[in-house]
């Protein structure tokens, strides 16, 4: 008798403990969506460092950061749009088009670099505002709107650039300044990366410490509830798409420094890569959950995997396979986390 009771309580205890661990994990991830991506990033860094000791060298780490800088900047704008339960397929197109415009303003129109840069930013902002207007005024789904503008911007790219690449050496130095770096030991920190990190800091603050940020989350969480609470949700959405446009244009400037040129033939993969970074960072595609710190981690995960797999001698074709798998895991995890019960 006593043994069987003992066994059954032990079993019960085991089951309960197993459940509560899963639940506790679910709650922890729910309260801190950054935990999951951060764990993946740290584990990946440890694993790749073991596989190839060159991975953790300062020179290689600075290369990883450099490689993710443009995508991270685009993903920052993308994060805010996805937080409102939207999506922006035109992020890369706006970035590349802005970079072409800046280069053309300098080289063809002979404008001073500062003016060309500011005009490029203004054009990117306007392109974002166009997306925002179509989403809020005509009330089209963001997916369709940005699919349309993506196609338009890519086509305008070729028109404006004449399908020609402008070399960095033909441009004023301000245009390629983002590609220059300051050395911290063996670690090369580019000005583009510094700009990107400052922007992440700024928008972390704006999203978590200002009313505008609360309204972005509330709008993405439940747009009708936000409206009934007195938030002008149309205005919030418009501001998000517009700000994202500006960020893409800044990404375009960083892109010129990174490639030391302005080319219409790059960046087709940037649109989806920016979404990948956001999703890997734990921001929910259903809106209202996540944040920019996760996105920075998500972008770094992509960079670490691509670089680490390469150093591990894995063929390039398998990088996409690995990252695609990570995306599916991340989205499944998000679904599980959202089912959390009080």
């Amino acid at each position: 008798m006593s043994t069987s009771t003992g066994a059954s309580t032990a079993a019960d205890f085991d089951v309960r403990r197993h459940d509560s661990f899963g639940l506790r994990l679910q709650h922890a991830l729910h309260a801190n969506p950054v935990l999951g991506p951060l764990a993946v990033l740290i584990l990946a860094i440890i694993a790749f460092s073991i596989v190839n000791t060159r991975f953790f060298a300062a020179a290689n780490l600075s290369l990883v950061l450099l490689q993710v800088t443009v995508i991270a900047t685009l993903a920052l704008g993308q994060t805010m749009i996805i937080l409102t339960a939207g999506i922006d397929l035109s992020a890369g197109a706006i970035a590349v088009f802005s970079s072409i415009l800046m280069a053309q303003f300098c080289v063809k129109a002979g404008m001073p670099a500062v003016l060309a840069l500011l005009l490029g930013f203004a054009c990117g902002t306007a392109m974002g505002a166009l997306n925002g207007m179509l989403v809020t005024r005509i009330k089209l789904p963001p997916f369709i709107v940005t699919l349309g503008t993506l196609t338009i911007f890519f086509s305008l790219n070729s028109v404006v650039s004449n399908s020609e690449t402008v070399r960095g050496t033909d441009m004023p130095s301000l245009m390629t300044w983002t590609g220059e770096a300051i050395a911290i030991g063996n670690f090369q920190l580019s000005y583009g990366s510094i700009i990107m990190l400052l922007l992440f800091g700024f928008f972390f603050y704006a999203l978590s410490r200002t009313a505008w940020g609360k309204h972005v989350y509330a709008t993405g969480d439940d747009v009708e509830a936000a409206r009934l609470a007195g938030i002008r949700t149309g205005r919030v959405l418009f501001s998000v798409y517009t700000v994202a446009g500006l960020l893409y244009a800044v990404g375009g400037w960083i892109l010129i420094g990174r490639l030391a040129s302005a080319s219409p033939n790059v960046g087709t993969e940037y649109n989806l890569d920016s979404i990948t970074a956001v999703v890997l960072g734990g921001t929910s595609l259903f809106g209202g959950r996540g944040g920019v710190i996760g996105t920075l981690i998500g972008a770094l995960i992509v960079g670490v995997f691509r670089n680490g797999l390469q150093l591990a001698g894995v063929e390039v074709v398998w990088q996409g396979f690995a990252i695609g798998t990570l995306v599916l895991v991340a989205v499944s995890l998000d679904q599980w986390i959202r089912k959390v019960k009080g």
Binding site: A225, A226, L228, G230, G342
Partner: protein
């Protein structure tokens, strides 16, 4: 005699709203007296929600008059009604599940820090908002919530309702409108929310309560406004009529009584 001089907090006269050929409200009246809970009941399509939307600014009536404390008002949107002191708790609750209790209480009315931190950097005064939120919640006796920084989605239905009611009570200076506050709740949580509504009234804020739940209406209403076919056809009190009387009047099975349930008509 003195009761006749009491000015209703909210008074609507001859409100009409048509949607094309459909008449949603057909010259409906409503009076809300100071310090009372006025229940509004009616069958589906009786014009309850259109009437309430007209009072809360969500719908602009085609004709008729609304007076707040005796002064004529015309709301073009819910924000104007809110600015005038009318808070509405919608059936859909209008809370953002991902935000915490304090954020939800101040949603759309966030307070910024004093000085340049607030005016230049737009920094929210989170500490102040949290302590204020905790104060409002405990004033209404909602002390069971462990943490004011808890996300609303982790709360039960009744606790969410409590957050919404607390928000309305905290910011409503004239009256609070509650649309089906107990519809989605269990027995225990319903009782808790009904007590919350009484607390709001006892703090001096009159309440308009829309509900289908007759036992709840008869439990807490001071007067019951019965809406039928776009009009108010009777006002009764829980002591003057039974639940079955109310249902009969509401559905047209019984004629509307002469008594209007107004304080001045009693005695």
């Amino acid at each position: 005699m003195t009761t006749q001089t009491v000015v209703p907090v909210l008074e609507a006269k001859g409100l009409t709203k048509r949607y094309g050929r459909v008449v949603a409200i057909d010259g409906s009246d409503l009076e809300l007296m100071p310090g009372e809970i006025l229940a509004v009941i009616g069958d589906n399509g009786a014009g309850k929600s259109s009437l309430i939307k007209a009072l809360s600014g969500a719908v602009i009536p085609d004709s008729g008059e609304i007076r707040l404390d005796g002064e004529p008002v015309a709301f073009r949107n819910p924000m104007e009604a809110r600015a005038a002191g009318i808070e509405t708790v919608y059936q859909t609750l209008a809370v953002a599940p991902g935000l915490d209790i304090a954020d939800n209480l101040f949603l759309g009315r966030e307070q910024r820090r004093a000085g340049p931190l607030g005016s230049v950097f737009r920094m929210l005064d989170r500490k102040h908002m949290r302590s204020e939120a905790a104060r409002h919640m405990s004033e209404l006796g909602v002390a069971t919530l462990q943490n004011i920084g808890q996300a609303v989605e982790s709360l039960s239905g009744g606790q969410r309702q409590a957050v919404a009611v607390a928000r309305a009570a905290a910011f409503g200076s004239k009256l609070v409108i509650l649309d089906e506050p107990t519809a989605a709740l269990g027995v225990k949580e319903s009782n808790r929310v009904l007590q919350l509504i009484r607390d709001v009234r006892d703090r001096g804020l009159p309440v308009i309560l829309i509900s289908h739940n007759m036992p709840h209406v008869f439990e807490i209403a001071d007067r019951i406004h019965i809406q039928r076919l776009g009009r108010r056809i009777a006002v009764i009190t829980p002591s003057s009529h039974s639940m079955s009387d109310a249902v009969a009047i509401m559905t047209g099975a019984a004629p509307a009584p002469d008594s209007t349930g107004y304080p001045q008509d009693e005695g």
